[in-house]
């Protein structure tokens, strides 16, 4: 049933964006977490890819479709990866985790980047909610025929 598949597809989008939000929250919460001398929390990022479709998510008659694009399965989170960029070093000689030169290694979390990511995730989530509502209304309209 394509009507109900659309709801499932929007749900995959909402799940992915919510997970992205969780990761942003984790990054912000750990913006100052040090884990040892010369080591600190690394910013995490979510990677996404189009989901491999289950048969019920197949678009009808994808005959003109290029490379199996007739198959739709929403989005799937392929992993949470660590940001490999350089960690910050802050001069704090009195800190218990300072190295020999007096520097403490701090996470590579940039609050501005996280805020932008947070807004983007919120908007994308809202877009999926709107699509979900539209699919729901369409299903209700179609069901009204048999009333």
């Amino acid at each position: 049933m394509s009507m109900y598949s659309a709801l499932g597809i929007s749900a995959t989008g909402m799940t992915a964006e919510r997970l992205r939000m969780d990761v942003v929250a984790d990054n912000l919460a750990n913006a100052d977490s040090t884990t040892g001398v010369g080591a600190a929390y690394r910013r995490k990022a979510v990677t996404m890819a189009p989901a491999t479709a289950t048969p019920e998510f197949r678009l009808p008659g994808g005959v003109n479709a290029t490379s199996a694009s007739g198959v739709v399965g929403g989005v799937s989170v392929t992993g949470i990866v660590e940001d490999g960029s350089e960690l910050r070093r802050v001069f704090e000689p009195g800190h218990p985790l300072a190295d020999a030169e007096g520097y403490v290694t701090k996470p590579n979390v940039n609050p501005v980047t996280e805020m932008v990511d947070m807004v983007a995730a919120t908007r994308a989530f809202e877009a999926n909610v709107t699509a979900f509502e539209a699919s729901k209304t369409m299903a209700r309209d179609a069901l009204r025929i048999i009333q």
Partner: protein, 129 residues
Amino acid sequence: MLFDDVTAATLSSALRGYEARNLAISNNLANSETPGYKRLDVSFESALASATHDAHSLSGMARSEAADLVAGVMPSSTADTVTAMRTDGGNVDPDTEMAALARNQLAHQTVTSLLDKHLTLIRTAIIGR
């Protein structure tokens, strides 16, 4: 089918098309932040228009045959590989998708109402009031 008429066949073909498009738009929105994702497009209007034109203009065609011709119209989907929207290769524009979603929903609602009215007419003919 008992009531093999071109009108009902046209309307249900259109419904199938709008539902397929809704699926494609939902998938585009779910993948709006996916790197390299190419948006899906669903088309069925021109195929349906030419099928209904044929069904109405070809003489000597049986009623059910004409209805089958129209009912056989299947929506087709294509990936839009031409346009670019993001630096990561993805080309989903949420605003365009939202507009398409709203337009598609309204069209679906229109066709559903029409089908409802059509079936009411048949019901009236059966029960005679």
